[in-house]
Amino acid sequence: MEELLDGLYTAVLNGDASGAVENVTAALNAGAAPEAILQESMIPAMMEVGRLFELGEAFVPEMLIAARAMQSGLQILRPHLIAADVEPVGKVVLGTVSGDMHDIGKNLVGMMLEGAGYATVDLGVNVSPQAFVDAVEKEGDVDLVCMSALLTTTMPQMRATIDAFKHAEIYDDVKIMVGGAPVTPEFAEAIGAHGSADDAGQAVKVAQRLTGLAA
């Protein structure tokens, strides 16, 4: 069993999607608990990819293929997790703000958060303040809202979205995390966001802190 979980870890880490599917299937057939497969193998693999990315030892293609392998494995695993009543650790709504089409960074953050056990609702790019508000209201049990912006000209949309949350009186119900290359912690604080992170690996740590999973 140990071997299968190690194999799965390596497959996700190396972005080997078919290897991930094979190992998840084999681990399930060998009687592994779905939650153990996720927690002891797949999540640690994604965390390792995030760590390597932070260190500058892995780059965007490596993150993307690892995340793709994770998704492939998860497709097999998901029905078993549901059957075993394994709950996500939290629910995240994420999107790139209005006027901005950059989504590679946002996608990576989403994939890493999924890798860390969160359920994510991805609103895509060019998401208006109202669309963020609507999504949070519709989903109901959202813990964290993530906004991404890559353009200095669209950063103000983050503030506009936070203002819309205040206006809709849902600001106190969720935590808000912002990011993207031009975003600084000072900016995040000034607009009323609860946190920010420089890369997808850190984003998971900040998310865990904001949602009370880590100190």
Partner: protein, 366 residues
């Protein structure tokens, strides 16, 4: 470098009586030498240009495209933006026909989407099987429009400004235009042989396109210049690879470097545009190409400001090649204090002519 023995000529430009000295300073800079001070290019704040940007903001995509395509309008706007200006330092008035950075990719395939100040391309190559249909089309709408902008500008420029050639990105950035950046990242793992073929296709038309513009410009007594505004009498080019900020040095060496080597081959002056720390990661590979004669360093936003944090990197590059630095005038004194002037070309945003003269004085004492 043979560029020193190139034939030179003078171009009459209103407000720039020192054209020849400015060119001398640029040629000295390429050699890592200084005549009286390092070259300086000013970008003046222009209320008129700002106002025009605002004008486009309220338009839909079709209306914006119509304005980008309106040759008269583009030239009128440019001429109004330079009206009555006196050109200090190595600041040349240059009109570069512009449809955005993806125009070279669009010469083959793909629709450009026009924003307020720039444009981008809708990826056209969904399926590798369609690669064979990708072909340089010198009769396509974008190519014809750039020709039209060039010819009109050449008619209107004498005595007032230089005309340059359009911004050409024939390397991996062109492939990204066809595939989209995220897909192209995956392609590098899924289909490396197709990535090589695509890059080969992208670079294959470059010399033809470059020669086309170079011939037109030279036939009109123009220099070789583009958006960067640094003219030479030979063949100047600005290679770049923004996409490389997303990939590892090993991948850049495998996919980017061979293209770069071909891109710079027929040029006399290549200034590689390093857009941020992600691209700077590949500086060893970039500088390993002997025809990369100089570097432009552009720092990013947010954490990547201010300039002083980059001094060690800038010094490292300066030791190997002449380098352009874009800095804020408030940072100038600290920067000059920390750096030696050899090989440095400064770009500074300014508000007035007095300010430009004062800055030139200060820089002359460096």
């Amino acid at each position: 470098m043979s560029s020193q023995t190139q034939e030179r000529w003078s171009v009459e430009i209103a407000g720039m009586p020192h054209f020849d000295q400015a060119m001398d300073r640029i040629y000295a800079w390429f050699e890592g030498e200084i005549i009286d001070r390092p070259p300086v290019r000013f970008s003046a704040h222009n209320a008129f240009v700002e106002q025009q940007k605002g004008h486009l903001a309220g338009m839909n995509a079709e209306e914006r495209k119509a304005l980008w395509f309106d040759v008269e309008y583009q030239l009128d706007m440019f001429e109004r933006s330079i009206e009555g200006r006196v050109w200090h330092g190595e600041t040349f008035p240059v009109f570069s026909p512009n449809l955005g950075p993806d125009v070279y990719a669009a010469f083959y395939a793909g629709d450009l989407i026009f924003g307020e100040v720039t444009s981008w391309i809708a990826p056209a190559l969904k399926d590798w099987d369609d690669m064979d249909a990708l072909r340089l089309d010198m009769d396509n709408v974008y190519f014809r429009k750039i020709d039209e902008l060039t010819m009109q500008a050449l008619e209107r420029c004498p005595g007032k400004y230089l005309v340059g050639y359009t911004d050409l990105h024939p390397g991996l950035d062109c492939c990204v235009g066809w595939r989209g950046p995220q897909q192209f990242c995956l392609d590098m793992y899924d289909s490396p042989e197709n990535v090589h073929r695509l890059a080969d296709l992208a670079i294959s038309g470059f010399e033809t396109v470059y020669d086309h513009y170079d011939d037109i410009l030279k036939a009109h007594g123009q220099l070789s210049v583009n958006w960067m505004g640094i003219p030479t009498f030979g063949r100047m080019h600005v290679p770049s690879c923004d996409f490389s900020s997303l990939i590892s040095p090993a991948m850049f060496e495998e996919f980017g470097l061979p293209i770069l080597q071909r891109e710079v081959k027929t040029m006399t002056h290549n200034i590689f545009h390093i857009d941020g720390k992600g691209v700077a990661r590949h500086r060893d590979a970039i500088l390993s190409v002997p025809e990369v004669h100089a570097i432009q360093w552009v720092q990013g936003m947010g954490h990547d400001l201010p300039i002083m944090q980059w001094v060690p990197l800038i010094k490292e590059i300066q030791a190997r090649a002449p380098i352009i630095i874009d800095l804020n005038k408030a940072e100038l004194d600290d920067f000059m204090e920390a750096m030696e002037p050899e090989g440095v070309f400064l770009w500074i945003a300014t508000e007035s002519e007095e300010e430009e003269l004062e800055l030139l004085d200060r820089i002359a004492k460096w």
